[in-house]
Symmetry: C2
Subunit: 183 residues, 2 copies
């Protein structure tokens, strides 16, 4: 993960390089050339010297981790509908919509195994969002499942379907997962 925490002034050269490298990864994945996703290929597409990529990211895995973290952080606003059920239903709908986007899916599939200890960097924010909704309900005095159980029941089927099967990830089906969890 070397370099992924580098702070750069917005608009500075470092930020511009990062933006064009991320754009190059998105483009190459969208072209279904995941097999050919190497640092030299990304460098060529981004118009950046390969040495810069090796120095800043070190490996394709680290670069994909950075791209996935960036792409899937802050992309979904945690809903605040007044009830846990309402919040979760809106949230799973947003997650399902995101997972139905081929470009999102290409990044997730490519980033599998690129996170800390082999996890996926694409999920850090999803767990934080889930915890935030459960915490809010608990503060209202409601009974809530543990975060890990909620993640198993909601994120499990959502990511399983999207990544491992050819079945559609539909909002109606996603809401049924909430009903199963809260029944």
């Amino acid at each position: 993960m070397s370099g992924t925490t580098t702070q750069a002034r917005p608009g500075g050269r470092s930020a511009r390089v990062r933006a064009s490298v991320h754009r190059a990864v998105h483009e190459l994945l969208a072209e279904d050339s995941a097999e050919a996703l190497t640092l030299p290929a990304v460098a060529g597409r981004a118009g950046v010297h390969p040495t810069t990529l090796y120095r800043r990211w070190g490996s394709v895995a680290d670069l994909l981790s950075d791209v996935a973290t960036s792409r899937f952080s802050g992309d979904i606003v945690v809903p605040d509908t007044g009830s846990l059920r309402g919040d979760l239903e809106r949230w799973v709908t947003d997650v399902a919509t995101d997972l139905a986007d081929p470009d999102s899916l290409a990044i997730i599939r490519a980033a599998v195994g690129s996170g800390p200890e082999g996890g996926c960097a694409c999920l850090t924010d999803r767990h934080a969002q889930l915890a935030a909704m459960l915490d809010r309900e608990r503060a209202r005095g409601g009974e809530v499942p543990e975060v890990s159980r909620a993640a198993d029941a909601l994120l499990g089927p959502l990511y399983y379907r999207a990544v491992f099967t050819a079945e559609p990830v539909e909002p109606g089906w996603a809401k049924d997962l909430v009903a199963s969890l809260l029944r």
Copy 2:
């Protein structure tokens, strides 16, 4: 998927080539060199001419699909304990044990997206096993959930945890998934 259905006499040259190529993929993945998993690299390790691999598998994705199908087919015997709950508990324990094996996990992660329509070839047999247990219970006159719902509730969390998180996939936790599904 060209070539993956090639029938070869057991012990014939074709079968020997396939066995050594599969072994080379397992070795390279176990060495954590997924990034370098190319057909020439596999050919070198297997001691086979690269042309043979290109002709028989066409691409790394097709080769991984073949390896995953072979590795995850017939590896788990469908249990027959006399009750659906008993069957499912034993089965998820076996699946959890398999997913806790780093070598299995390396193949699954590498084979993500290599299946038909972007799914994972590692799961075809799991769905068939689940359907077999549900069918048997239905034949006994029991009420059973649909296969897709059972897959969401069991395979969803199992593969999600194993592939996307650094959390352990423990047999006790897996049995709780069965309890949630059948309650």
